[in-house]
Amino acid sequence: MFFKEDIVPQGADRWIHWLAPVAACAPAFICFAPVPFGRDIVPVDLDTGVLFILAISGLSVIGILMGGWGSGNKYSMLGGVRAAAQLVSYEIPRVLSVVPILMLYGTQNLRLITMAQQARWFNFFPKWFVFYPVIGQISFLIFLICSVAETNRTPFDIPEAESELVAGFHTEFSGLKFAFFFLAEYAYVFLASAMAAALFFGGGDGLWVRGGIIPSWLWFLAKTSVLVFVFLWFRWTYPRLRVDRLMQFCWKFLLPWSFINIALTGAWVLVH
Amino acid sequence: MTLYHILALSGVVFSIGIFGVLTRRNILGILMSIELMFNAANINLVAFNHYLHPGNVWGQGFSLFVITLAAAEAVVGLSLVLAIYRNIKSVFTENMNLLHG
């Protein structure tokens, strides 16, 4: 793949064609900064960690639009526009599904969120957010579904759609540029799993961490790996959603449920 | 990096934005230059908040509202541009002269 010839189509915009993979891939690596890989193992201890990750994830949509436009190809542009519409739509329930966590723990700092999940109910049951009745499960499901859509994975992979638009917005990219687009997608899959592990599963918390028998980063990596497996599992199992049904699913189902979720979390915070 | 340097920077960006608004022929270029002007004003607000009133965050709150209203204005402006394009099939301002005297 490194030695493949780098083809730029004749009608393509050279600068945009050259910059598109960079703009799609660079935000994926920046986003890993506030993620807590274990107890006190954080590259950058950001106080606006959650907002930072969600904001920078939105930057890669620009890269996809540039890729679709810079190919000089009608079908690539169509694929790029569809991909951008899907990504922007699914960003909203994703952000809203994280809001209950912010309401409950009162901080955006990912390390503090994982530390707050080290408490225990009845002295043995971990107080991870996903175990909170109703609100934890709804939040986790909405976050998972929206992350699958954000990373253009099946069942939401109309932008890539090997059988429909040739390869969507990255048709005209070859060699390392194509590799960058896919590297961005897989980096986002890992990032979404790491975020879900930190926000919902208490990342780094688990059995025998306190005694130092099993290190906290091993637990974090184990949880992230299970979630990456869930992403791959979706790809093997589900067929592709049609574009208009995909948008309907986001705006008419996920968004109202995320609002209901926020209201229920408000009720929970009021009661406790 | 004193306050004056930041204000000079935002002044330069603001005047570049004014140049863009007055000279661009493409109406989307005019909208983008307006966004540049909004951002220059935001830099000013945040700089004043940081240097002159370090205790509170009123400048940043004001700036947040400017960002929100700029978003609303951009959305309405862009839907107008789309409606105009659908009718006259051009985005250049010299073709939009139906009300010309």
Binding site: T48, G58, L59, E91 | R24, S33, I43, A47, V57, S79
Partner: protein
Amino acid sequence: MSLIFYVFGALLVLSALGVVLLKNVFHSAIALVMALALVAGIFVMLGADFLGASQILVYVGGIMIIMLFVIMLSQQPVEALQRQVNEQWLLAMILSIAIGAGLAEGFKKYFAYHFKSPGLMPTSVSIGRLLLGEMIVPFEAVSLALLAALVGAVLFSQEQKDK
């Protein structure tokens, strides 16, 4: 830290010049994306971390994507060869340089003193308290304005249904 500010400032001026001078309107949109990201970086340097992240989320991740959509939907192949700057450019350049110089003089007169730069603190909690405390009326008014903008945008972008 001063070095970062000078680098960001120089890149910001270059991107702004790219927005107003580039021939291809898609290129100037990408230059505007770079300018907005640099402004977010300047916000973070000035201690406004929540505002910087919101700037990227709203401006770059929202407004610029809509603008890129409209640019892609309203493109015409012949326009790429025409000039983008109209015939009043000399007057506009004189005017904008005059305004810029006037601003710089005004700032130098009042603000060229050395103000102590305080430490950087997280601002999310303070902004939350401000928005729901003292600035609650503008907060609710802005939500009404956003609703009006939403309805207006949907109305204007509908196809005309001729009877």
